[in-house]
Symmetry: C2
Subunit: 471 residues, 2 copies
């Protein structure tokens, strides 16, 4: 141990690299340590390859709408899954290269190895001990595979291995109907794989609004079956490898385990920090500073298991990077929650979730897209969007949806919620014609009609088009 | 003339029907008169059938991306234009039925016929004169066809006739590269028609930002040629019917005239109102009340030739409907301007146009989508977006763009501009990953980097991720 580092960053994923960016602005005396392959989860095995697969799957699926448009010959279309996967990896390699080049010029300040905390200011890497005034833990997460599945390893895929396949087996059970399970199950189904989905909870893709959840289930199960509220188990039968859930046994060739991700904290030495750890082994973290208790140790990104969203991991990395180079940490205001599932229709949750609402003080506005004009033109007329607003003020609180272009509507609503806008203020904006945003307007009007007359100017409330009177 | 009407509405299009809706809430003593087919321009020959055609064309065009995704056999795909058009008309009929049912129960209070003003409170319809305390003029507009083209009528289509065709000729010149010309030229080209576009101005689809205009031209002309800055003329040659522009003569089978729309004011008797008319024969109209001078006469929608956008025509109809039933008209605050062209990539103009900016007090932020992550995954990585903001405050003023999902980004920006938000406030919202909105964020950051340091909190300005410090 020759010198004391200003900062050591454990993990070079999205959170770690964001922290690095801030640290480098303020000191040259740092070290970043990464265990396993360099390149972020997002670029290597997450957001990017999954969306590349989805784009190909949706393109192929679009043929099912062709005859209604007046386009013929789609029976001749074939998808070559090996080619699809080669394109996925080609793009992925490029995105990974974008994330690894950040650390290329660091020389010895970037190191491969598994780090272990020895004390709140000491880390061991590859048998060598480093002393650091500040430690940023950003070791990420890994796909969960239940221990009881150990004997079926040859049948089990995760997002770590899915995109590495040469091709896919003909029958795949996707176990776990969270965001990743739903995205991948739909993509595999649309690529011609015989897919069955299993979810232990009744909720699909994290939705908590039962009305939207029902709409999502109705929409998705038009293409592939989903078995909810049952724990799936794997077993070998004479007939073959099966997934059993409840009284159903379904023979498949492989399983995609989409059961969530667990924090990479095994042997990390968190117990040496001298602070209490929760049931999952995670220390107390201030979400406004990312600081652990009152230590000069910060924990950011997937590793603390709060959520696994890239934009939040990046925010946390920046926060920790700034705070690890200041004597007194800054408190940051976190962003409006936003979660998007890139299924078709898109599923999204913005602001306050349905199950976190105070029902007594909340109004709900909704719209079905089954007869929405623009959506009908494009054969995309399905799904449901629900908005939540404060009953007294009309201030928008949150939304859950499973609708076409949901990813875009969700960003519009996120801005509105972030700015504390009311339903009446949102109805002031122009809605072009014919657009899917007009569906959102219907839900806003549904809310506006329930608001007390005094909560907006009389004309704003009375007139469906909500022009504000100036007189 | 038996009694005096409270209101007479001339025209049952979008503006007239919106006015009717307000009038009916307040009086039963009205008459609505419509010349020609009932049903709005939007539903009959505008927004809806055009977007139905575009959806089919884009679906067929999508095959050109298939091989890169790993999908084969697209050579076997064929589009049956007769079938495409039958679907367009089937949907159109349904949308038209939705607009005509509004007047079905009116009995004698809805009348077919051409109306002519006789005085500021008298209207003649079918030889009968009506006296009305208030008159709402909403007679709409019709496609422009130059008189010099009269001898080529058999070759000329407009949006009034385009969707009525059984099929399309093989070679079509689209004359006029405004919004409608661009939308229809691209759709026809994508349906396999040999299309040539002609525009008299250098601007495409109404864009005024030269950088965005160049990007739009580059994108669109990958599929079909566009000749700009030249007046197109029609003539018969031995070789056939040709369009001549500059030194080019191109043989075509037909012409789609997309030269704009002129107000339906011929023989309307506007001169009897006793107010001065402008060069186009239009009286002075207050855009905040829709009132003509100090008369109890209102003029709304396409007929006053300011713009031909459905959502604005509807707003104006509501305004006039309210004001025609009040003794003192209300002034309304008009909405943030928003114009969208449903080309691919979408073209959109929001808020203040580039050519209306005060360059000395404005900053510009821009982003090219040629390397945007999400757009690359979907093979949609092209186009340019430019944002305009007040140099001192950072308040967003407007945007022009030709980018994928531009219709959605334009709505997000319209909300921001309507709420007078600053670049820094917009950067507070969450941007999910990977989404096209991240491209917009790049342009916002480009703007933020040019803003004076004092225009936001230090951290908001210094940190690329723009978290607001609370301390």
């Amino acid at each position: 141990m020759t010198k004391i580092l200003d900062v050591i960053i454990l993990g070079a994923g999205t959170a770690g690299l964001a922290a690095l960016r801030e640290v480098r602005k303020r000191t040259e005396n740092f070290l970043i340590v990464n265990d396993g392959p360099w390149g972020t989860v997002c670029a290597r095995v997450g957001c990017m390859p999954s969306k590349a697969l989805i784009e190909a799957a949706n393109a192929f699926h679009h043929r099912t709408a062709f005859a209604e448009f007046g386009i013929h010959g789609s029976d001749a279309l074939e998808v070559n899954i090996a080619e699809v996967l080669r394109r996925v990896r080609r793009l992925r390699d490029d995105f990974v290269a974008g994330t690894t080049k950040v650390t290329l010029d660091l020389g010895k300040r970037a190191m491969s190895g598994r780090a272990r905390l020895v004390a709140p200011n000491r880390v061991e890497v590859n048998g060598q001990e480093w002393c650091a005034r500040n430690i940023i833990i950003a070791t990420g997460s890994s796909p969960v595979i239940p221990k009881t599945w150990n004997s079926f390893k040859q049948h089990i895929l995760t997002t770590d291995t899915l995109f590495e396949q040469d091709t896919f087996p003909g029958r795949i059970a996707v176990i776990g109907m969270g965001p990743i399970g739903v995205e991948m199950a739909q993509a595999l189904s649309r690529l011609g794989i015989d897919v069955v989905g299993f979810g232990r909870s009744p909720q699909i893709a994290g939705l908590t609004d039962p009305v939207v959840n029902v709409a999502a289930a109705a929409s998705l199960t038009q293409e592939w079956p989903i078995h909810l509220c049952e724990k799936a188990e794997l077993m070998e039968r004479k007939a073959g490898f099966v997934v059993r859930a409840g009284d159903k046994e379904i023979i498949v060739d492989g399983v995609l385990a989409a059961l969530g991700r667990h924090p990479n904290i095994a042997n990390l030495g968190l117990e040496t920090l001298g602070v209490p750890l929760d049931d999952h082994g995670i220390p107390p973290i201030d979400p406004t500073t990312m600081q652990i208790a009152d230590l000069r140790v910060f924990m950011v990104g997937d590793v603390h298991a709060r959520s696994a969203l890239l934009h939040e991991a990046a925010d946390e990395g920046h926060m920790a990077g700034i705070n690890a180079t200041r004597s007194i940490p800054i408190c940051f205001l976190r962003r409006t929650p936003l979660a998007i599932v890139f299924s078709d229709p898109n599923i999204a949750i913005v602001g306050k979730r349905y199950d976190a609402l105070d029902r007594d003080t909340t109004l709900t506005g909704e719209v079905s897209f089954s007869n929405q004009g623009r959506a009908r033109l494009g054969q995309r007329n399905e799904g449901m969007l629900r908005l939540y607003a404060q009953a007294d003020s009309g201030r928008l609180l949150g939304a859950e949806m499973c609708v076409p272009a949901g990813e875009h509507l969700a960003h519009l609503l996120a801005l509105a919620i972030d700015r504390s806008l009311t339903v009446q203020e949102l109805l002031r904006m122009p809605f072009y014609h014919p657009v899917l945003e007009e569906g959102l307007r219907t839900a806003l009007r549904h809310l506006a009609a329930q608001l007390p007359a005094g909560s907006g100017s009389d004309l704003t409330m009375c007139e469906a088009f909500n022009l504000e009177a100036l007189d």
